[in-house]
Amino acid sequence: MHLGKVMGIYMEVLLIDCNTLQELLSLTAIELIEKLESSTLARPIADPEMEREFDIDAGAEILDFLESGELESPEGMLLLARWSAIGEWGAWEGRTFIYIETLLGREVAHVDELYEPEIWLELIENISTFTKKEYSNAVVMDWMQRREKLGESLDEKLDPHILPTMEAHQRNAEGLFHVLQMAKKEGISLLLGREHMPARKWMLDGIKLKDVEN
């Protein structure tokens, strides 16, 4: 279980292989079921630096959904997109302010801005101004400064959570760095959403899933 799962809402970013998703969208529900049941439905090669849902789980979710749901719905599209993901990244939403503001160089006024596609276009470009290590260090520095401003201790003897939290920020920042680098590649789309967000509001390259044409 992700630490974020017990700390609050989780932001999720998936890198989608466009060709795979296009192929899935061209299938009928019956064809899709046949391919899943015979284990012949191709999935893109997973990015070795990222995690993603296991094939068996992603496939089972689609099959369960198709028992009563429509493939052309946003919910169906979200499941197909998850199948088409080469990897996914997630972090507790509260923490993503640090990761995103560090890259934007300005404050994000409202949590909804974190999910605006224009912001992500900027993030994808701005990541080029950092190396992975520089970005990770900048995030940790920002986090430490925020703690100091709040009068919180940075002494690990006084707060045993300091070190694991710092490591989590480093890990998250390095993961996001990779995601943003990969999002520059042709044929890769960025799917953005959060826990409990209805499927229709998830964004695929800036298009809400309810508006994506099958």
């Binding site: 900027e122 470009e125 520059k184 390259d205 800036g206 044409e213």
Partner: protein
């Protein structure tokens, strides 16, 4: 226009130049941001069209259309600094005069995808 909130106030005039080129589209789009150093337009269906932002060393012109179709850059390829972004540092950059035609190509892209009506309709 104040330049207090900009990352680099020295780029304020250049930013305004580029925003002025986007202004005609405000009649047919949604202006979702118009702050010092940051201007953003979306199609009426809510898709991102343009964002013009002052960065530390350049003014970035971000277009969702370019992110999806790299051929739209055309003569502006020389100003391209990313998958969706053109970057400008100099008010005298001759490529600036290519921006209006570039915006038109991006508009046509969105129209061709049915994300908005043609302005002539």
């Amino acid at each position: 226009m104040s330049a207090i909130n900009m990352k680099n106030p020295a780029l304020a005039y250049l930013w305004q130049q580029i925003v002025d080129m986007c202004k005609p589209y405000e009649k047919i789009m949604l202006k979702v941001k118009d702050e010092d150093g940051y201007h953003r337009l979306r199609t009426l269906s809510g898709r991102p069209f343009s964002a013009v932002a002052v960065q530390k060393k350049h003014v970035g012109l971000y277009m969702m259309a370019l992110y999806e179709d790299s051929t739209l850059a055309g003569p502006l390829e020389g100003a391209r600094i990313g998958k969706s972004c053109m970057g400008f540092r100099d008010e005298n950059n001759p490529l600036l005069c290519e921006i209006p035609a570039y915006l038109e190509r991006c508009l046509e892209y969105h129209v061709s995808r049915g994300e908005m009506n043609s302005p002539s309709d």
